[in-house]
Symmetry: D2
Subunit: 351 residues, 4 copies
Amino acid sequence: MSGSSFGNIFKITTFGESHGKAVGVIIDGVTPGIEIDESDIQRQLDRRKPGQSSITTQRKESDKIHILSGVFEGKTTGTAMGLVLYNEDQISSDYNSIKDLFRPGHADFTYLQKYGIRDHRGSGRASGRETSARVAAGAVAMKILKSRGISITAYTVKAAGISCNKRDFTVIEKNNMRACDSNAAKEMEQRVISLADEGDSVGGIVECTVTGVKPGLGEPVFDKIDAELAKAMISLGAVKAIEFGSGFACADMKGSEHNDSMDKNGFKSNNAGGIIGGISNGEDIIFRIAVKPTSSISKEQKTVNIAGKEQLIKTEGRHDPCICPRIVPVVEAMTALVLIDMYKREAALLS
Amino acid sequence: MSGSSFGNIFKITTFGESHGKAVGVIIDGVTPGIEIDESDIQRQLDRRKPGQSSITTQRKESDKIHILSGVFEGKTTGTAMGLVLYNEDQISSDYNSIKDLFRPGHADFTYLQKYGIRDHRGSGRASGRETSARVAAGAVAMKILKSRGISITAYTVKAAGISCNKRDFTVIEKNNMRACDSNAAKEMEQRVISLADEGDSVGGIVECTVTGVKPGLGEPVFDKIDAELAKAMISLGAVKAIEFGSGFACADMKGSEHNDSMDKNGFKSNNAGGIIGGISNGEDIIFRIAVKPTSSISKEQKTVNIAGKEQLIKTEGRHDPCICPRIVPVVEAMTALVLIDMYKREAALLS
Amino acid sequence: MSGSSFGNIFKITTFGESHGKAVGVIIDGVTPGIEIDESDIQRQLDRRKPGQSSITTQRKESDKIHILSGVFEGKTTGTAMGLVLYNEDQISSDYNSIKDLFRPGHADFTYLQKYGIRDHRGSGRASGRETSARVAAGAVAMKILKSRGISITAYTVKAAGISCNKRDFTVIEKNNMRACDSNAAKEMEQRVISLADEGDSVGGIVECTVTGVKPGLGEPVFDKIDAELAKAMISLGAVKAIEFGSGFACADMKGSEHNDSMDKNGFKSNNAGGIIGGISNGEDIIFRIAVKPTSSISKEQKTVNIAGKEQLIKTEGRHDPCICPRIVPVVEAMTALVLIDMYKREAALLS
Amino acid sequence: MSGSSFGNIFKITTFGESHGKAVGVIIDGVTPGIEIDESDIQRQLDRRKPGQSSITTQRKESDKIHILSGVFEGKTTGTAMGLVLYNEDQISSDYNSIKDLFRPGHADFTYLQKYGIRDHRGSGRASGRETSARVAAGAVAMKILKSRGISITAYTVKAAGISCNKRDFTVIEKNNMRACDSNAAKEMEQRVISLADEGDSVGGIVECTVTGVKPGLGEPVFDKIDAELAKAMISLGAVKAIEFGSGFACADMKGSEHNDSMDKNGFKSNNAGGIIGGISNGEDIIFRIAVKPTSSISKEQKTVNIAGKEQLIKTEGRHDPCICPRIVPVVEAMTALVLIDMYKREAALLS
């Protein structure tokens, strides 16, 4: 209701600000008897954490996961899992200089308008740090989905104006951009570094492919699987757009081109992106999201303070000049959370 | 949970198939004491109903609204409103020939996979007819929002490959495409008719502008106002993509370009589309959706029947060759439902 | 959120006032492929409807059910079922004389305080008529539960000060009190009629026994099966109390007496009422509810009008002098709704 | 959905087992700008914690609260509050001897049936320790309610067969039974100690009085204020029954006796317990719950092990011989959680 919960049956509720004591998540609805330990979760968190490469922020967050409940002798008990990550690098004084300023592109202004009070350290609740709780919960979901043969892979397809020319999944974790084309990745990285040197940042596009989803998953009307995925993705602060299958290109297509016809071997195209009427058709689920350029830049920008007085601002410290590589595991986590919930909703309906 | 409800406080739950007895909606959480009568709702339904012009389907649905509860002596009582539209033009035998065929682009295959049973008449629950319940509920929401100074306007900005060159809101209801540019509208209509004559259909892009939303509306983390709007829009069967503000264009932008900086007069640009960190910033909320070409076309297409045997199919009858003009009131209704819920969520949080 | 929905997966949402056009319910989450027709539902409604015997109100409500959606060729489709009962005997003018009076024991005062507006005809949304929607939905739940071997039986165990001395389920539907003891039933009926002749009413106790629930059903912590049943029962306007198993008697017992110990044949007593830690233990689920005397009596009572002026009031017309017999099917319906939801929640958790 | 959440707008989600690492709660929907610190919460936890007196268990749980998020510079920020209590006295080996036994009166059997796996240390998720998370969340709710003039007082009215003869609220916190009658309290305590010496336990009745609730609070139909309170109370593992106002006594009353009539000074009696039609009438809200005798007793009892073999069991260690005094703050906390949610729901509806 107040924005901290996601999912219906496999339901997560998160808390935590970037510079408070901790971020954490409660997962309710976890299948009992699943083998899981902290390393399953840590692996995903490590993909999201800062300081991984030259093009991610050098902030130090060890992002160490602690399972506080719901697991007994290495297996889930079916009761609520409490997970927590303590914040370590929380030197709030860093933010004193911008305490009363609205950083351009950040939620400083909107949070103060909404709540009448604002934790100005980092971005408080609006910080990307919040997504580590999503990644932790998603790791649990993925463990269950994997046993059902489902594979979720997200990757950068465009950044800093450079597009991937192929979809080579084997290289994604081998380049700093998490791009699906090594050559493009190199170019992207160079341009990103060059923009970072200018004190600027840049956007990109991340695509996600899900294989192994059986046909018939998803709910009708309001809770279509693509509708839930859209909500999941747009709920990431940096994401401005999402498209499924043909996406915006469908606007220029004719029905006779766009309709995915079937023959005895199945669908002959995938303009639907694997979802028709909100329900999976057995093809790969494919969607793309637009990632805006990081709001925190060290270039000088114009803004106002809380009294409305115009001022100049420079966001000090190192920030990710392009969020794409670090948003990839978050996209996968959110996709996993949508899918596990859909599987459980289906079991409920059919029983 | 099973897809028929939307909203948290101003919550709607719908029912109904295209060729069953009726479609309807229960609205719970309606502010008491609001003056409303059936004409307020009928006006919006008339904008969605078929048969409005040469480029909408000629099916006859009078779409007459009946308020069954929740209104007493012309005012809402604060208890659940039950609204129903009886189906009239339900000649099921029209569909006998395609009873066992999967129509390309339709949810026939996926519904059968999910439920193991399928109402083949029209598209059953997956029919666009379902959206009339949304429009009815949205009309109630709009009535309340209007008194808060909020105005929601959707319009076609592209169709059949032709784009609007201006945003002239005064012409929207005066052309058959509900486009915001009279000249473009004429061209669009010609091409749409020409494609219809070929037995084909075509897609487009609809934009929505919301004015009058005060800054500070929306929830953090998962229930960001744009996340809820994205879910609302992608939950429309024909919508394949959504973008807010700069949208996909942000992928190629630098932070210094994309950040909407402020001066003493407010924001100097609106790449954010009126929403930062999921919360309104007081600027116009702007988003665009991609509308796929109508799946029902009279051109012959390849498909299979439920036994997997290949067959040819022609969808008889008149269908909308371009859904844009009729989806416009649905987009407005869904936007209204998201916003009214957000206003009520805010009142709840702050109290 | 605003009180018109019940259940999580098998979820019902109701609407309707006693003297409006109709009452109805949408059921979302119905298992697809279940054979059902209107007679399955009508049978239960007929047990609740007025005018069944000399001790129920003589109002004429045919309570005829109409299935508007979700059923195709005699089977549920898995999509939302819309059910409606049109109101027939709605002569509002009967209520003109009490339009501005607060009837003692009725929700007239509290509704006006809450909403600032009130449908004074009958009791509006607060009328017992609302429960017919519950009974309709419960009938669908029962159909599914029956196939799982679950049997739900409610019956009057006390009324007008007379208690049943045995639990003879075969006589319940054969006496006007729906009591489980024929002799007691006769005595009860006489006293009830005699009280009715005096223009008065009287309360009673209804018990419910559920057999066939497998051990392990129910959720931990907040959504214990007894917690959900308690909510379900106390949500009936006339119910002032509920107790499970030993109930209030447990207050005077020692642990060594109260603990239900097990031997190799299972539990040796059932003080738990079939539920421990909120989860079924395989024994019969047993609970009792206290039903207050009907508020509507023809005896003259003191009250005030909406201006605060003292007045005398006589509730004209025939009313149930004891609600027990008519609340029995409602208790069964609500029990069925709780149980079906729990079965579906279990399937979701374990999947 | 899986039982760990309570409330709609002021919504809590808890986690934690008695012998895991911690118990905790996330509160979403907290009004921003409320002054709160850990001492506000600690005060209530100290009333629930073990070891307070000779008649509570001597287990050592310091129950120290940690606020991990949602509070900034002494005020709530309106974002999710994360609260945690680390478990200290978790010597799991104490439980090795009963690892495979079903303790009579405990949820050992039902949890194993449900989940197929069980944390046997203490009672895992089914432990009373779980209620400390409720008390912590309730303390936050109380802080807000107090500023609205609402006062919630629970107290023992019967224990070990001894009833209070008066309602003296000034003595409640001054006797070990938290009873509302000093003399009765002394007698209760003696009998409880004497039963404890025999290795036995005993039940009781706790009453709760809420003053200061304005008329018009609560929702219609399913979410009546008494229905939500009933769910809240019966969700406590030791509670077997609840009654409002006249409660079970209403079964023997006539309508003319039971109806609370009004004169110009308001209601002349309170059989309704402050709630009519699920909505507060401005009178004190009064309910009573039956508390079963503690299941853990040191007397030898018959049971079976998980293989179905009969065995004798003695629950070692000190346990509360009567839960009444320690359940009092839990009852108050749950009442506060229901009421704060209702106030927020009202604000949402009326806005």
